[in-house]
Every structure is written in C-alpha cells, then in structure tokens.
C-alpha cells in the first residue's frame, strides 16, 4: 500500500510514449485562424508609420494594434511597465507592435514580412556598465528595477585583521531555456462570453491575472487552461501571459478561435532568458581557514522591462553568500535595465567557487531555498482542493502544472499515502482556472514542498469529514472508504475539502529590514565533476559527475533522480557551450545549430545520490528539488577545469576560445 519512496508509474507516462499526449500545436479548433506577431527590429525608438505593402489581400486579415485593446495595455506582473503592443515607443528589439491573423499559415507569414515599420531610432544601451553609469536613462529615473542590501556584523573591520583576502569578479551569460516545445496558445474571446485560453505554460493564474487587466473583465469571464506542456524551465513563467493576450486580442476582434505557435527562431529571439549577471566577491579568510568576512556586489541585467527581475534578484541576494557560516557580511544587489528583450526566470544558478582538489576534478557545495523567497508564500496564500467521487476516487484540484517534473505523480503519491489508498485511485485535475483553486505558480522549487503539503492536508480534510460524520472508522480499507464516500455524497451532495497555506511555526521574514528566515527549508548538496580538456581543440568534456543532495524525504526516487540529471545536463550546457550572441540587443544565433545545447553524447552518466533527512513541515518529509542542480554544476565544472589546467575561469559559458585566452594569459 505504501507509495511514498516507490517508483510508481508516471501518471501521464503511457500517453507520452504512445504519441497520445496532446500539446497545444496538436489541437485544431473549427474555423480557427493562425496568428502572427510583427516585431521591432530596432532596440529603442519611436514608431513613425506602419504600412501594409506587397501583393497581399490585406482585407482578409484581422489586424490588431494597441488601439484595439479593450482594457489596459500592460502585462500585469509585479510592475505594470511592459505593454502588450508598443503604442509609440520601442524599448527592445523583437518588441511586439502589431498582430495579424488569417486562416492560411503560409500567407500569414508572407503578410507578416510585408508590414513595413518606420521607426525613428533612439540611443540604446546594452551593457550592465552603461546602464549603471546611466549613459542613457531608459527606465524610471535611474535604470534601476530593484536593489537590496544585506548587512551582518561589520565587514569594514575585517580586512585589516585578515590573513588572506581573496577577490574576484564573475560573469554569467544569458541562457536560453530552449524547451523543445515552443510557446503556443489557442484563444477564444468575445465580449459576450469572455476569454478562454488553452496553452503551454507554467502558471495559469499569472495568465489569468494578466488577461483580467488586458480585457477589463470580471474574474469569472476569464478562463485559462494548461494543456500538456513540453518543458518550461522558468521560460514559460511570465511569457505565456504575453502570447495568450495576443491570441485573445486577435480572437476578440475576429470572432474566431486563434492559434499562435512560435517557430524556433521567434521563440529564441523574443522570449525571456536567464538573466546575465556580474558579481564581485571580496572574502577575508584567517590562516586556519575560517571565513571572517564577505563583501558581495551582484548585478543582473533585467532587459527592458521589470518582469520578474525583482524575484530573481532577491533569490540571488539571499544565496550570494553560499552555504558558509560567516560573521560579517555585506551584500549589495541591483537589477538594471538595458534595451534587450526582458529576461525572465530560470532555474537559478550561482557561481561561488570553492577550493581545488585532484587533477581534473572539482567540487561545489551549495544550498537552494525551497519555496518563494521572503514573505512570498505568505502573500500567495495558495489553496489546494480535493474532491471525492461516489465510487471512492479522489481528485486533486490544484493549479500547479505538470511540465515534465512529475507533479501529477507526486501529488497522487502524497494523497494516496495520506489516505492509505491505492495510487491508482487518485487523479489530478488538469489546471484550469475555471475549475481549480490558485495553488500558486509552478516555480521556485515550491511545488513538492509547499503545494504538496497542501495536497496532504486537503485530502486529510476529506477523511476528517467522513469520520466526523461517523461514516468512516479508524482502520478502514479501500472498500470502506468507497462506501463512506458514496453515503456522504448521497446525503450531502458533494464531498470537497480545501486547504490554504500557513507558514510553519517559527518562520518569520521582515520585508522592511530584509532579515529573518527567507525560506522554510533549504536543500543541500555537494557536486563533483571530472573533466578532460582537449589541449588541441580546447574543448572541455565532463567525464563523470556525482551529485549528492539532501532534499528531505524522497517521494519518487526515479523522478527525483531524473530532475537532478536533467538540471545537471542543462548546467553542463550553460557552463560549456550555451552562448547567446547579441548584436544591438538582438540574439543573432537564434537557432539550434548555432546555439548549442547538450546531446546524449555530451552528457556523462550522472550519478545521483540522496541523503534522506525528513523535513517536519514538508509532505511526508519532502523538500523541493527542481532548481537545485543548476546551482552547483557550473562551479564544480569550472573548479575541475581550473584543477586540470591551472587556468582560473571567472565567466561562463566557457567557450574553447576563452579557455585558450585564459591559458595563453597564464603561460606567456
């Protein structure tokens, strides 16, 4: 009967291996139109004129501009600074300006290329340096989206007494999430029936919130449904609000269903990427190896609009000092604006470096906070529901999305265990804002620990109701449970239970002072990488990789190992090959042939080990996993390279050409 800790079959496994799983591009609605986005080629400027050229039957097209927006022209997220369609000013390349829809995909593409934009260019900035120096003010009064400061002890006093002072600057590049399924949605919208959107996404309620503002409709007139989603990795967190709004605007105007699915080049060039960052570390150490003080300056490039930069920055600030105990710390962090497409969230990475060991081998020890940073979880007030049917089956109602990480399976395991029922008698409802409560976004490694806990308490609520009404005794069988459900539903109608987030006792965070417990729990890990450097081509290869972590109780050993392996594979790419090439704020290598991600041949067998240490406030003792592996793999690999070559590397991705440079610099 026990399901926790056992490798039960994935809920959606059979559909995925037989080709039956339906993703958004597999759906066709009657009378459906295809939608396309006309985007800016310049980074900053003012729209002078839009004209419709070529031998195109323009009267057959639905054309939407900012003037057609029924509500507010902004993507509601943290700040309201990003428009759905640029009205006058352009702030980054690929900024959407106009939308087209037509029944014929091919003609649509032709038409898109025949919309002529006349844009008067304005000076733009593309680097952190120019933004910090305010070479041009492009956002607010000072280009600063957000800044934080953390102080502990007195750092200024430690430098004198320190035996060693270690200083370094580190840079990380942008990374494209490159989920294999591009962004896509289908929308049906009309003033009478409201707006319904089906799409590939991580956070249906983010989209819901954004559409409320865009159309100015009441909550129950907007419905967002997640369909099977082909990967997200943080890249389908806020962007789906944009594409969903676009499809809905086209549908609103045309009166027909509209599908927008990006092609690879458009997806890579225009959607959010991992933030590029720059960090300066200064660390004071004593002769006996104690950390005396750390001063850290951390800057991330948020692109042209604020999006989720503040959230990413906050997480970076709190993780900047790493898992070490240190009495004196000062951390200063800033998120700044440049004229690049906005950068969003991604499994977070952190390049803190540790000491060397043997030749060609490196390690990193690190931690990752599970759940939203600071008071995030308190404000989210996530809710999960559970519903029993007359035949004794239980349905979990949550907006947390399955994007490959195994949400459905893990929720069913947690519920089955809590109720002592068969795994197969638990179903997980499709995330649909019309049918499930808001269990918060599927981000920040929160789904298992935070939402999983709510699943546990919601299903226990069902049991309490049944035993409270005398229908279920203490020791029950699956059959007893079924009988009890049937009698209850006959007498009272439905049997449902909801559970809302409460912070575990003793967890407090002060937003004003930016102090306290930023996370309820951390996952801890040590990663070891072994590398070989080809001294002719300067290519680095990871030969072996060992990942040891403590994530509380492991709910599904195979899924958990898969999450770690996948994250490490992405991190290997991030460290060694994934180089976004920018030109005037545009990504110019927006193809899978020139933005290289790892294949099976590039990834060593990744050996994953779990040290189980149940966490009292997680479901069955579990904590979060999702983003953990991205934090430690890069530093472990860089340390291994340093160990192998003697070259000290302080930026990623480490392309062969930079390794040549680093080594050339050392030897002469």
């Amino acid at each position: 009967m026990q399901t926790i800790g056992r490798p039960v079959p994935r809920k959606e496994g059979r559909d995925k291996v037989t080709g039956q799983a339906r993703y958004v591009d597999d759906l066709i609605f009657p009378e459906m139109l295809y939608g396309a986005t006309v985007r800016s080629a310049v980074a900053r400027g003012r729209i002078k004129k839009i004209s419709f050229e070529g031998n195109i039957p323009w009267d057959e097209f639905t054309i939407v501009t900012a003037k057609d927006i029924p509500g507010e022209n902004c993507v509601a997220l943290i700040l309201l600074d990003q428009p759905y369609l640029a009205d006058e000013f352009i702030n980054h390349p690929e900024e959407p300006i106009l939308l087209l829809a037509h029944p014929d995909k091919h003609l649509l593409e032709e038409a898109r290329r025949n919309v002529q934009l006349e844009i008067e260019p304005l000076p733009a900035i593309f680097t952190l340096e120019d933004s910090l120096n305010r070479k041009e003010i492009i956002w607010g009064e000072d280009n600063l989206f957000k800044s934080y400061k953390v102080e502990k002890g007195n750092v200024d006093e430690v430098w004198q007494s320190a035996d060693f002072i270690i200083e370094g600057e580190y840079e990380t590049g942008a990374q494209e999430q490159l989920y294999i399924e591009n962004n896509g949605v289908i929308a049906i919208a009309s003033p009478e029936d409201g707006v319904t959107v089906w799409g590939s996404m991580q956070c249906p309620y983010y989209v819901h919130k954004a559409l409320l503002k865009l159309f100015g409709l009441p909550e129950d007139k907007i419905r967002v449904v997640q369909v099977e989603t082909g990967g997200g990795f943080g890249g389908k967190e806020e962007y789906p609000s944009m594409i969903a709004g676009h499809a809905a605007l086209l549908s609103w105007k045309s009166g027909r269903p509209v599908k927008i699915v990006y092609d690879r080049a458009e997806d890579m060039a225009s959607t959010t990427k991992r933030h590029p960052s720059w960090t300066k570390h200064r660390t004071a150490v004593s002769r006996d190896g104690k950390l005396l003080g750390m001063e850290i300056d951390f800057v991330i490039d948020g692109g042209a609009y604020a999006t989720l930069s503040a959230v990413v920055l906050s997480r970076g600030t709190i993780h900047a000092a790493g898992p070490y105990s240190c009495p004196n710390v000062r951390i200063k962090s800033r998120a700044v604006a440049t004229n690049a497409p906005p950068h969003g969230e991604e499994r977070f990475a952190e390049s803190n470096k540790t000491s060397r060991q043997k030749k060609g081998m490196g390690f990193a020890s690190f931690m990752h906070g599970a759940g939203f940073t600071g008071s995030g979880e308190k404000y989210l007030e996530s809710v999960v529901g559970a519903e029993a049917t007359a035949d004794g089956r239980v349905r979990i109602l949550a907006a947390s999305t399955e994007i490959g990480q195994g949400t459905n399976t893990i929720f069913a395991q947690i519920a089955a265990e809590a109720l002592r029922l068969d795994y197969d008698s638990i179903e997980v409802a499709k995330p649909d804002t019309g049918a499930v409560p808001n269990s918060g976004p599927t981000v920040a490694s929160r789904t298992c620990m935070i939402v999983g806990k709510l699943v546990e308490s919601a299903v226990l609520g069902l049991k309490q109701t049944l035993s409270g009404s005398g229908l279920l005794k203490e020791n029950y069988t699956q059959e007893d449970f079924r009988q009890a459900c049937r009698s209850y539903i006959e007498q009272h109608g439905a049997l449902k239970s909801y559970s809302k987030y409460k912070a575990p006792p003793g967890i407090n965070w002060d937003d004003e002072k930016y102090e306290g417990d930023a996370y309820g729990a951390y996952a801890w890990a040590v990663y070891v990488a072994e590398v070989t450097i080809d001294t002719v081509t300067y290519e680095a290869r990871v030969d072996d990789f060992v990942a040891v972590q403590e994530v509380g109780k492991v709910i599904h050993p195979i899924l958990a190992a898969g999450q770690i392996e996948g994250g490490v594979a992405q991190a290997i790419g991030y460290t060694l090959f994934e180089n976004v090439v920018w030109k005037d704020g545009r990504m110019i290598n927006n193809q899978m042939t020139n933005y290289i991600i790892p294949t099976a041949a590039d990834i060593p067998p990744i050996r994953v080990f779990f040290e189980e240490n149940p966490y009292a406030y997680g479901p069955a003792g579990a904590k979060g996993i999702g983003e953990l592996p991205m934090d430690g793999a890069a530093p472990a690999i860089l340390n291994a390279i340093e160990n192998a070559t003697g070259a000290s590397i302080n930026h990623i991705p480490l392309m062969p050409e930079s390794l040549i440079e680093a080594l050339g610099g050392e030897s002469g």
């Binding site: 995925k16 037989t18 080709g19």
Partner: protein, 243 residues
C-alpha cells in the same frame, strides 16, 4: 569505411549545388545565402549521421529531399514575392502510407512529410521542435530507416511505408521500447519522446557502428529535459534483450 567515401562524394555534390544556388542573382538571393550559411554545418553533420546510420540509399533519399525542400522554400518565397496569391499553388497527387493505412492526398510539392502527417492524416504524435532538422522531435521511420520528417518532402515519400509513434505499439500491447522508456523514466515533458523512441527503433534495426555507443548514435535527438540517462538505459535494455 564505405560511408566515408560516400560522405565525401555527397559533400562534393552539396558544395556544387550550393555554389550554383549562390550564383543565382535577383530576387531571393540574399535569403538563399543566409539560409546556406546558417545551415551548412547542420547539413553536413546531419548527412554524416544519416550515412553512418542509414547507409547509402536512405541517405541519398534524405539528401534529395533536403535539396528539394531548400529549392521549394526559396523558390516559393521568390514566387510569392512577385505574385502572392495562394490559389496559384499547384498540387500533386501522392499516396502517403502511414502505419499501414493509405492516404490519397493532393499536396503542394513543398509540403514536408512532417506537415503532411500532422495536418493531413490527423496523427499528431510526431512533433515539430525546430522544423529545420536540428532537434529530432519529428523522427519517423521510412521503410524502416529513421529520418527527420521535417526535412523530407512528402512528395518524395510517395508510396513509402512510414511508421510514426502511433504505429509502433501492437494494439494495446506497447512496443518493448515504449515499455522500457516508461520503466527507465526516459522522458520528462515528453515532447522529444516520440522522436527519441522512433529514432531508437531505427537504431535497433541498424545497429550501432563499431566504436560508437548508443549515446553517439542517438545524438541527433535532443532532450532539453536531460532525460538522457533514462533514454540510454531504456535502449540498452531492449538492445541487450534482442542480442
């Protein structure tokens, strides 16, 4: 080492065709240049893989369809520039045989096999990750050989026996590879999975050339979720059982 000589030969052919294309002047020549330079590397790698894996005939077929596809794309965009009405499109009758079923279709010559399968036969299991031969999500079997259906023209596969992910199981009985992918968790989001499994099915038949492992022979199929450990374990298991 037969494939290597063949590879050299094909490369020479490719280069010749490229230079011919590059010499064309007038409308569309910029696009052609951009297209060729962008994709040159990919084409070479892909061709090499096809040769190693599939042998001469399949590779020749692939090469041909790639060239046709390229011509069709550029010619189409040039044509639509001068007179851009869809009605002018000419269609040709072709017989598509997918998973044992015959579909008589009228298709424009530039329609890819992937689009024909997805949009005209109702089988949406084969996925489109890039539409340019770069990811492998669209892999299907053509007369038992694995191909990227986004690079193949439907017209070039008239009458050829195509197998997609939907045709792999025997009724309710999953193919051993499908079972093994479930058992070893060889997927997460599942978007690359149909391509991975079809590619693995092709590989089982072809076998890995000596000196190459499953990882190399599967390197045309990208999995961003990084389920490679599971994918390789699943294939190894089924291969082991077959041997």
């Amino acid at each position: 080492m037969g494939w290597e000589t063949e590879y050299e030969g094909f490369l020479a052919m490719l280069d010749e065709a490229d230079s011919e294309l590059l010499a064309t002047e007038g409308a569309g020549s910029e696009e052609i240049k951009a297209f060729l330079s962008e994709d040159g590397e990919a084409r070479r790698r892909f061709l090499k893989q096809a040769l190693i894996a599939g042998g001469g005939v399949a590779a020749a077929n692939l090469l041909l369809s790639y060239r046709l596809n390229l011509f069709a794309q550029t010619v189409e965009s040039m044509a639509s520039r001068s007179s851009s009405t869809v009605e002018s499109a000419v269609t040709i009758p072709i017989t598509l045989r997918v998973n044992g079923k015959t579909h008589a279709l009228n298709l424009e010559p530039q329609v890819t096999l992937l689009d024909a399968i997805r949009e005209r036969t109702g089988l949406t299991g084969s996925k489109k990750g890039c539409d340019r031969g770069q990811c492998g999500a669209c892999t299907v079997l053509a007369d038992g050989h694995r191909i990227n259906s986004c690079l193949a023209l439907a017209a070039a596969y008239d009458g050829v026996e195509i197998t997609t992910i939907e045709g792999l199981a025997n009724g309710d009985q999953l193919h051993p590879l499908q079972e093994a992918f479930i058992k070893h968790d060889g997927f997460q989001c599942g978007y690359c999975t149909p391509g991975q499994i079809m590619s693995a099915a092709g590989l089982l038949k072809e076998g890995c050339p000596t000196g190459m492992g499953v990882r190399e022979c599967m390197s045309g199929n990208i999995c961003r979720c990084g389920a490679y450990n599971g994918i390789v374990a699943a294939i190894e298991e089924v291969r082991g059982r077959q041997a």
